[in-house]
């Protein structure tokens, strides 16, 4: 057994605006964004399922775009705006539309993959606020879930769109039909 010695690896100071709050961290160049968020900034809602960009559990929004935080070095996003699942709530801290939809539609079971779905869907619905069931399924096509079989996640996408339309006071044309009723 050798004595405990502090790291001498070269570090870099970075600033990130995470969920609207300016955060600073001192990280080695090789530190992954996922580890930085989870372990340096204490935002453990971002989960790591595969460490190679396939499962999507670690998806966060970098300047509004969904990205796999396990494939990004923290230093490479210095100065960026990051949104994690913790930041997908409404401004008053209550559940945001996507979060509410997941709860209403039983869109999660163990919840480990859920943060990546929620960030992905939040970004998607900004681009396409009125998806069809087929588009909703396509929108989540890059994220793995081992529990739900996806059916209720598709329903959650549609329900979230519906909630967002309701909240914006825009009755809209519900091309998606009712969120709970996806059928083949």
């Amino acid at each position: 057994m050798t004595p405990d010695r502090g790291p001498t690896e070269q570090t870099h100071d970075i600033s990130l605006t995470v969920n609207g709050v300016l955060r600073q961290a001192r990280v080695p160049a090789r530190r992954l964004l996922s580890d930085c968020l989870r372990h340096d900034l204490g935002l453990t809602g971002t989960h790591v399922g595969c460490e190679h960009g396939v499962c999507g559990a670690c998806t966060v929004l970098v300047n509004g775009q969904p990205m796999r935080s396990c494939l990004l070095l923290a230093v490479s996003v210095d100065g960026s705006e990051i949104t994690t699942v913790e930041g997908c709530t409404d401004p008053d801290g209550s559940l945001g539309p996507v979060q509410r939809a997941f709860m209403e539609c039983h869109g999660l079971q163990c919840g480990f993959c859920t943060p990546g779905f929620i960030t992905t869907i939040a970004a998607y619905l900004r681009r396409n606020p009125n998806p069809t069931p087929e588009q909703a399924r396509e929108a989540i096509g890059g994220n793995l879930c081992r529990c739900t079989g996806y059916q209720n996640i598709v329903a959650s996408v549609l329900r979230a769109a519906e909630i967002m339309r309701e909240e914006s006071g825009d009755a809209g044309v519900p091309a998606a039909g009712h969120g709970r009723g996806e059928r083949a």
């Binding site: 057994m1 039983h106 999660l108 163990c110 096509g141």
Partner: protein
Amino acid sequence: MTTRMIGEPIPRREDPRLVTGQGRYLDDLGAGALQVAFVRSPHAHARIVDIDVTDALDVDGLVAIYTYEDLAAADEAGSSHLSEPLPLLIPHPDLTHPRTAYPLARDEVNHVGEPVVMVVATDRYVAEDVCDRIRVNYEVLPAVVGLDAAIEATHLVHPDIPGNIGAHMVQERGDARAAIAAAPHRLELDLEIERSASMPMEGRGVYARWDADDRTLRVYTSTQAATSVRAAIAAKLAVPIDRVEVIAPDVGGGFGVKVVHPWPEEVLIPWAAMRLGREVKWTEDRREHFISSAHERGQKQKVRVGFDDDGRLLGMEFQVWHDHGAYTPYGLIVPIITTTQVLGPYKPGAYRGEFWSLYTNTVIVTPYRGAGRPQGCFAMERTMDAIADYLGLDRTVVRERNFIQPEEMPYDHGLVFQDGRGLVYDSGNYPALLDKLKALVGWDSFAEYAEQARAEGRRVGIGLACYVEGTGVGPYEGAHVRVETTGEVVVATGLTTQGQGHQTMLAQIVADELGVPVERVTVTTGDTRRFKYAVGTFASRTAVMSGNAAALAARKVRAKALRIASEALEVDPSDLEIVDGVVRVRGVPSSPGAKTEIPLSTVAVLSNPLRYAFDAEAARATQFAVGGSSEEPPVAEDDEPGLEAVDYYSPPRSTFAAGMHAAIVETDPETAEIKVLRYCVVHDCGNLINPRIVEGQIHGGVAQGVGGALYERMVYDSAGQLLNASFMDFLMPYASEVPTVETDHLQTPSPLNPLGVKGAGEAGVIPAAAVFASAISDAEGFAITRMPISPSELFELRERFAAGEIPPLRSRSGHISGEGRFVRAKEDSR
């Protein structure tokens, strides 16, 4: 009236935390803890010559390096048992040659991924740097990979285990061989299922802290069996069990793999924490999960059946060669389940089930959702299809003729099930399930659709499969229910949760039993500080076991509440009811403060006579406020303070759920791509507690079934390297691969338990491989006998079929191909 909660599809209590990132999974805990990485064997079979750590010692942040020698030295110096092999969890008399691993390899490694060296460092990056600098010299030995090599036994996994045979087991009812020989018709099928794995999104992980002042060890682990991990840690580390706490935090899926324990890491991490006096954590990475946790499913099977002109089974012989990997910590559970649950909803006539459980130099094989049932279902359902084809009968007709009838329940198969109890079905209505399935999928009109599709140049096929699942196996579970003086109800059960919504489901049961709003009930699972006696979460057992235990405990609490309230209200307890958390006289309108009602919160206060007041509620229970007779003790001799109770549920044997699935597939005539057009499920798990949760369990099971049938397999090369140990290469289904699942339910209550429930967790996955094999066979016109099946494999089968190497099916939906057989009807060779 309080709304009845059992049967309501209420949203889950767990969700607000989990959807906001406030869940606490293993790696979310222990910020600042030391981190562990392992040097794992790169060889499937090798002798360890030496381990050289010289280059690693200079790495900044290194804290400790441990090998087997350190475990032996620790045992020598103290009273730990770390240098001994890990426990054989489930011994069985027929497991004549068991073998379990050491926590760190001693002299020899038997699969790629076996842990050899443990490194503790200030963070995981550093720990992995250290691992890279440790050199282990191996003398590579021949690897036994795959069932053929195991059976052939040219090389042995363990030199002292002849023929690589860990176990050989036979169960027989009647003289199956004689019955088959005497039958008017006989068939023989050779079948095969490949390996897959549970593959939860969160891998395993362990975090330990040792409080040297308090002499207490607390271990968080991503497990399905917290209480048993606690016992194992206490035994291995020689810590009094009373000083060990084990907590399963939020667990990101289990599906079976996390019921195995203690994993090497579950004893090594706490040991390091005690030794170093520091918090220590290990979080499994995905590659580690592929090569160091557990797999399942791999079997070769032979079925021989004899049947009459109507397709009724007269005798069945089922032989299974089961690949259990390098070690046998979980005993024979999987092959026992395969060779008993193969019988499904049918009467087999005489039956002989036989298996050989074989060693290979691969990752251990332990239960994965379904736990041997998918393989058994595959064998029986392929057989049913073969009989139907042989006799030119509709596939549903053959099944109907072999069904156990509702009036024959309880039905005793005369075999011993995985729990050591009789294989006795408690209830079920299989004909009704089949009727529902045929209606749901449109079985009778499919031939017309298929003919039409064929005319358009499309290939479509329909398939079905039926299963019976023994759920809720014993020995027992318990629950503790307490009404706090605030009126909040806290419930604890010892088994663990991996996403099934147990906190919601158990809250619904207790809310109903006690007459309180479900929002006031909080449930804790898998925390040995709260409940110490439990078995674990597996075999679709939580609703049955903990559900009934919680109901029984709540009934005790209710009885006590009514007794205390009856004294306070001076009313007979039988005249009282509890509605919305208030005990009141039946039939008297609610009137707060009246002498006809009393809130449960006040009853809780009165249940605990106090000397000291700390708030206004407590003041009502103090000695001068209560008064009472001076002749009687404040707590009666047969009573206890507090409005709480513990109770246990221990059934005589399992309860048997059932279901039937059907799928319609389309296979591309050119590319052999397999597309699922429809997937239908009818399911009977007795009374439903939360239909939404049950439906979710079915959806998830079907998705895993689709994966296991069409995509997932563990690809080992002949040297024992797992070639697809990543999510990039092990193809778990995305949303694009999983069909919409259409469901219908039947509710045949179990007569065995107070709630009349049966388990639902594993059901969805069980028949999927069988259903797809049936549907693809129907589309293609020849029998599929090996699963999973990829487009390229189907393409190759088509070529062999065209070359006449595979016999055609005789009868297909919308298509009569004339002569041909599913498989050759062989004369019995004996």
